[in-house]
């Protein structure tokens, strides 16, 4: 492999034997770090791994409607990869990124995934955001035996050999948050509201079961609005009539902004109404405006304001790379974990081969995670904590509750 590389290089140089020899020397000298891990050994499946470089894919939408959400993930992944490279890379090889744009279009995601796996032969892919895009690429990853690190909190009900889920599945995000608010606010009645697609609907189903069966509370209404809906006047009036103890919200996208602006305008503020959401991170607050979110709660595993040394380092590095104004939401942090978890797994496996990396993944711990400590479960999700943050007018959240590490349970019995 190394020889082949040297001789291929020599074609671009003057074809004197001496120079070719020198080039070969140079090539072998520069990979000293990787000497313990010869390419032939760490790459038996024809991945894009050479003595110097390992290629990985980033597959997110940087154009189209989803660019709003996915930009942060791209930035976090690039930061992690840069930091890993600065530390000397993985098995002595620098990581090289091939970035593709899913363009907020699910067939495009599948097509680009195929390109990354078949044509570029990348060792792993960090990408996808919506469940729809993940479902679109899943068959490709399973057929081509690729590896995907998926950062978004999502509805669960999925587990694939070829995917590591670095965000929380629904029960991790929902149950502890509901327990807390029921206890803290002595809440008995809940008004569930969400955008109309798979994630809010699955999440609300789980929330309803938990409220009715475990908390012995009442769901006074469960409502969904089409994506992009911008008028919430009527539903706000209905809420005023029903006076729920808690509004539990999973409204997303542009609707989210309209929803909170109109709540505030209708006089529904945190002083009068408790609201807990699972769909607002620092990214969303940027669009909503901190003054409209003030006092409301979000249940997430990560907030930018987390007070621990890992996170302070992470936030500082992120702002240095992407600007002092940048904010970091839950998914951005989860995306940041991807490259690090992959690094740990590759080093444990001593190989880039997908099967070996996957086999090495369960049990991988990351003590340097900004969210604290995470560990990969055999079901490919992460053990993680749930935190409830209360928003202030500056768009930052104060953590008011932190759970123990929660075991991921993508197929929760009794909640389906």
């Amino acid at each position: 492999m190394r020889l082949a590389l040297a001789s291929r290089r020599s074609f671009s140089l003057p074809r004197t034997p001496a120079l070719a020899f020198a080039a070969a020397l140079l090539a072998s000298a520069s990979v000293a770090g990787a000497a313990d891990y010869p390419t032939a050994k760490v790459n038996t499946t024809k991945l894009a791994v050479t003595d110097q470089v390992v290629k990985v894919g980033i597959l997110h939408s940087v154009t189209g409607t989803m660019a709003i959400s996915e930009t942060g993930s791209v930035e976090a992944e690039k930061l992690a990869i840069k930091q890993i490279n600065d530390m000397g890379g993985i098995l002595g090889r620098k990581i090289e990124i091939i970035q593709e744009d899913g363009a907020s279009d699910w067939p495009t995601f599948a097509e680009k995934a195929k390109k990354l796996l078949v044509q570029d032969r990348v060792a792993t892919v960090f990408g996808c955001w919506t469940s729809a895009s993940r479902k679109a690429v899943l068959p490709v990853f399973e057929k081509e035996n690729g590896l995907l690190y998926y950062p978004t909190f999502y509805e669960g009900l999925e587990q694939s050999k070829n995917v590591i889920y670095t965000g929380q599945e629904a029960t991790q995000q929902i149950l502890a948050g509901l327990d807390w608010i029921a206890k803290e606010k002595n809440a008995k009645t809940f008004y569930l509201i969400g955008s109309d697609y798979i994630w809010p609907r699955t999440s609300m189903k789980i929330a309803r079961k938990h409220i009715e069966n475990v908390l012995k509370g009442t769901v006074v209404a469960e409502e969904y609005f089409p994506l992009g809906h911008t008028n919430f006047g009527s539903v706000i009036n209905k809420m005023k009539l029903k006076k729920p103890d808690v509004i539990y919200s999973a409204v997303v996208g542009g609707s989210n902004v309209a929803w909170y602006k109109q709540l505030k305008a209708a006089g529904v503020t945190a002083e009068k109404q408790t609201l807990l959401t699972i769909s607002v991170t620092e990214d969303e607050v940027l669009g909503i405006g901190g003054e409209n979110m003030k006092g409301f709660y979000s249940a997430m595993k990560y907030f930018q304001s987390l007070d621990n040394p890992n996170n302070q380092k992470f936030v500082k590095a992120f702002k240095e790379m992407w600007g002092a104004d940048s904010v970091i939401g839950d998914v951005t942090q989860a995306a940041y974990l991807g490259p690090w978890l992959w690094k740990e797994a590759v080093e444990k496996a001593g190989s880039f081969d997908v099967d070996k990396v996957v086999a090495a993944s369960p049990g991988i711990e990351l003590k340097t995670a900004p969210e604290g400590y995470v560990k990969i479960h055999p079901n490919h999700h992460l053990w993680s904590k749930l935190r409830v943050g209360q928003w202030d007018a500056n768009g930052q959240a104060k953590v008011v509750y932190e759970s123990e590490l929660i075991e991921p349970n993508p197929f929760p019995a009794g909640y389906q």
Binding site: T230, N231, N237, K261
Partner: protein
Amino acid sequence: MAGYTWSEIGSIFAMQGFSGLSLFCVFLLMALGLAIIFGQMGVINMAHGEFLTIGAYTTYLLSRWAELHAPALLDYMFFVAVIVGFLLAFAVGYLVEMGLIRHLYKRPLDTLLATWGLSLIMQQTFRSAFGAREVSPTLPGWLLGSLSLTDSIEIPINGLVVMGLTFVTTAAVFLFMFRSRWGLRVRATVQNRVMSGCVGIDTTRVDRMTFAIGCGTAGIAGAAFTTIASTGPTSGSLYIVDTFLVVVFGGAASLLGTIASAFTIAQAQSILEFFSSGSMAKVMTLLAVVIILMLRPQGLFNLRIRR
């Protein structure tokens, strides 16, 4: 409605009435521009939403500027933004007509594709210029919150502002269309282009101004909507379906029809949302519109004289 006191029901009735009216104003304001462009000129402008976005970003930029450099002006900035939003959208509309639309007047279906493409280009331009994330214009304090009429009746101030703006804009459009010489020329050109040209109306110029004014009106709507909804590269496109719905349902050529249709759809949706649920209300509204359009393909009002 069992278990509620009369005063509760009364106040909900009042607030529900207001939210129906406020939805009506939102629909009317976003549809006015398209009623001119699609209704009067027959141009299927899929990029209408992006002209709204121009207004929205104008508000964002101006409020940001005011916040940084002249905090004292922030209170008035919203109205400045409405006017500047109109002017900017007007200017862009003027250029778009000149560069694109005027070549397609004889091929109305092609305008659909061309303006769809234009809408994608504009969205990506916003994304490149302002970033993919949504932004939040700083609104002056007086625009936030609500007026408490009684303990339980609270009227959103931003709703009132949108309402006021809608009345002013609608009145202005009506004066322009039906009381000014310009409006006379526009209506003449719409009814019979060749004859209008013969009597000395510069139809090219009329087209350009009409299109630009339609776009400018969208700019006003965009600026107004920053108070109630999001500001991002694709914010405008959230309104495009409802906008076409209102204009088509009202009868394409009739401004009065647009008003009637905005009122009907808004009230239907607002009442249905109250008594059923969000997605269901939308489905039922659309279903009703489809049935009415099947029975009355020309829409609610039909003033058009076939060319």
